[in-house]
Amino acid sequence: MADADEDVSHLGAQEGAENDPTEEAQDFRFLDKLIGGHDVAHLSLPKRGEKDFESHSTNLQLDTLEASRRAMHGVLSWQRTHTQKNHILAQYHPETNTVCVDKVKSQHFQTIGRSRGGKEWLLPEEALFMIERGSLDCRWPVKKKEGDEQSYKTEDGAPMSLQAAYAAFIGYEEGVGGKLTLEMYNVYAGLKRSGYVVFRTGTWNEDRGDLLINYSNSQVEGRLGSNIFTRFFSEIWRRISQPSYTIAPANLSFGPLIKPGLYQSYSDVFRLMQIIPTHDRKTPPSFTLPPAAENPFRVHFDVYRTTSGFRKTARGTPDFRICVINARETPIPTGAQLNDLFAQVPEDRPKAGTQHYQKLKHGCRNVLLAVVDNGVPSYIRVADAPFDEVKIYERTWTGPRGKGGRGRGGGRGRGRGRGR
């Protein structure tokens, strides 16, 4: 919702000078496209216009408002139909709480389902999503009486209503391990509708996700020594110019860490001051908490951007990993929970040569949290930021934004100031 506001186009502003009410109709013609018998492929949702915050009783404003209402009403009352060609029949499988599709017909199956035994099987969220958008006709299995030897086909079963589908798929998933909660389904459906490809991470059978260890950390050491003399002199130069300072135990205990004396550069001083241990991001991660099904901080979905060559059998590394959190039940993560969550995602460092700020913001591991409050998700990107790897004191760079220069701007909207 908020995002839509930010994306509002300046439709009204482009139209130029018009105070003539007769010209106003032009603004709504594009809405008529939605209602009229136009090609379905070219339909698009109406863009929102400028906001008026109060009524000023001009006919112009009233007419515009009325026309907007009519256009919206027209869009909403447009009748949507299903064609026989795209009718997909499927049968509910109570034992596994999954759905078995008889015949795969639509493009949707490029990004959902998995085939087993020659048939396509849908997970609860996939089935529910398809039922909800009207693409899937799911049938209950026929209850057989004793001695009834007749074999029934899928279409003999009773159709599953949307209410029934919600009741069947949400919160009940025997034999599959983890449960699909309403929050997870909200996030799943929301991302699918926004055009992402979403799959479950792993099988959800275990109490927590798998530990991901990256072996890419093999650092190639080995200085290229050109010849023995240059190396000899460079070593002498290094010793002269960068003497190694140490802190005496008494100074560490009672201060000052930087005892009065000769220091050749501020970098030496800063190096001495670093005594607070930080989380070691170089060694492979490990879990701190015992596995527990009730720990909500685990990666639930792998999210992919839509690409042309996507194949669900060879999905590759996901673009995003999402953990779904119920905002009302779970507070912000504790250090241990966050550590375990980061241990489930692979290392994803920024490209070499990235600017410092960007490097810190990108982090060396990242995961998305979808915090859902009663159906409203808020997405947060959480990144493990290696501040200790960015030595600000070396001053090898200048910041991207100077201060007090000319040319403010960049900020959109009215009167957006900037604190300091």
């Binding site: 408002l65 951007r305 250090g335 501040f387």
Partner: protein
């Protein structure tokens, strides 16, 4: 909900910019409509703040391979360094701990300048950050002519306000024009007539009808319109009225105030600040760093335990006088491992030692702001919020501890979003710093229970920085 229409007033407003100027009487033309004044030349901050720390370093001359003489210069420098070792600590500043304000006061003008210029420590007690009271006061009295940064800010705000008023006025005129065309308004009528007739309701926000232009809007009771009128009437500058004749010497009544974390860093890490006992800077002896830990920690408790502080002071005096090491430490005086001074100090130390300029972030709903080089050079990029973390098994051993830990760790998502929204509004990035709290370390029975091995204590905490940023599905699709 606000009414949404596809095209309306603002569009037509933008199409007629000349009307805005035409409507403003020449006498009331605002300052910003004239040609821009040349910008004030800024002081050379690179020169003023050349030292990142209140210490001196003595670098070797540069080695230039094709200039053999540079080796000689290096040799001379090395020789002179070995003969007479230069000192990094030219002066040690003096300050005292003010128990009433719970901050550290630096009153010597030279120390104030030095601490501000060399690492942006503290803030002026009468200024927003840099101690500028004397300068501002001189300017206020007209002794010094140029403008201070606060005045620039003020002028800019005024400019912005003026712009908004004019924009609102243009909108309002567009509406009036429209109403006239529709025949709802006489040729010389205003929207106000309609408001008075009850045809148009004035909104509480008054965005449309406020535009102040004296000739158009008459005072309408106590509405926002008249409030704006008044504020504009008072806008006339009052500076310089006391006259430049009053050129007598002004006594600088401002001091530099340091937070306990800043002061402790200067004392314990850099050895550049002595905290003096009592409220007088001269004469008395400097307090030892370990005692300062106890003092700052005791004052960081909420509510402050007065009895414990008195006990602490007595014990310290007793120990100093008899030069005797105390064996036992009363439990009320023991420092809890998650004492807020310690947690804040650990994070402060961490970022300072990496070269960031760390300043308090209470105005931005966080604990700290991180500046690159300092506030004179860049805006802060990160807002740091400390989250204590109790991952150590000690904190899960008994139900009481688990209960305690949960109370400290749990912050709900509404809190988080409040903080994060503030950060985005001021274009900063929120960093939650998780500090691993060790099991209690104070009061072990050892020879000197009162003293603290500060280095050992600080090393028992671990920090982990995590950047949180809002993510939007519609913006990350490709």
């Amino acid at each position: 909900m606000a009414t949404e229409t596809v095209a309306s007033g603002p569009a037509s407003t933008q199409s007629e910019p000349p009307k805005i100027d035409a409507a403003v009487p020449n006498g009331q033309k605002s300052a910003n409509s004239g040609p821009r004044k040349p910008r004030q030349k800024r002081p050379n901050y690179n020169e003023i703040h050349v030292k990142p720390l209140p210490l001196d370093v003595h670098p070797l001359p540069a080695f230039i391979p094709h200039n053999p003489l540079s080796i000689v210069r290096i040799a001379i420098t090395l020789l002179s360094h070995s003969l007479r070792t230069p000192n990094s600590h030219k002066i040690v500043h003096k300050a005292y701990y003010s128990e009433d304000t719970q901050s550290i006061h630096v009153t010597d003008p030279e120390s104030i300048r030095a601490l501000w210029e060399q690492g942006f420590w503290g803030k002026g007690s009468l200024s927003r950050s840099e101690p500028q009271w004397l300068l501002a006061e001189r300017r206020r009295r007209g002794i010094e002519a140029s403008t201070a940064s606060t005045q620039i800010t003020q002028a800019r705000r005024e400019e912005r306000r003026q712009f908004k008023l004019e924009r609102a006025k243009a909108q309002r005129e567009a509406i009036e024009q429209q109403l006239r065309q529709e025949g709802k308004l006489d040729a010389d009528g205003t929207v106000n007539d309609l408001v008075e007739d009850g045809i148009v309701a004035e909104s509480p926000r008054g965005t449309i009808y406020t535009p102040e232009a004296g000739d158009v809007v008459g005072p309408t009771g106590d509405s926002i319109v008249s409030e704006v009128d008044k504020s504009i009437a008072e806008k006339a500058p009052t500076w310089g009225e006391d006259g430049a004749a009053d050129a007598e010497e002004i006594k600088d009544i401002e001091h530099l105030q340091l937070t306990p974390e800043e002061a402790f860093y200067l004392t314990y890490v850099l050895g550049a600040l002595d905290i003096i006992e009592g409220n007088f800077v001269d004469g008395n002896t400097a307090l030892p760093a370990w005692y300062l830990v106890r003092l700052y920690s005791a004052y960081a408790l909420s509510p402050i335990d007065d009895a414990a502080i008195i006990g602490l002071k007595k014990a310290f005096q007793y120990r100093e006088r008899l030069a005797k090491k105390t064996a036992a430490l009363p439990s009320t005086q023991q420092i809890a491992p998650d004492n807020s001074f310690l947690l804040k100090y650990v994070v402060y130390h961490h970022f300072r030692s990496l070269g960031w300029v760390v300043r308090p972030g209470i105005k931005f709903a966080v604990d700290y702001l991180l500046y690159l080089r300092g506030p004179a050079f860049h805006h802060a990029e990160f807002g740091v919020q400390i989250i204590p973390s109790y991952s150590h098994p000690y904190w899960s051993e008994t139900p009481e501890r688990i209960e305690y830990r949960k109370g400290k760790e749990s912050k709900d998502w509404w809190w988080f979003h409040r903080v994060n929204r503030v950060q985005t509004a001021v274009m900063k990035t929120l960093v939650l710093v998780y500090v691993e709290v060790p099991p209690p370390w104070d009061g072990e029975t050892k020879q000197d229970a009162f003293g603290i091995d500060i280095g050992k204590v600080l090393k028992s905490y671990t920090v982990r920085e995590v950047v949180f940023k809002r993510w939007s599905p519609s913006r990350n699709r490709d």
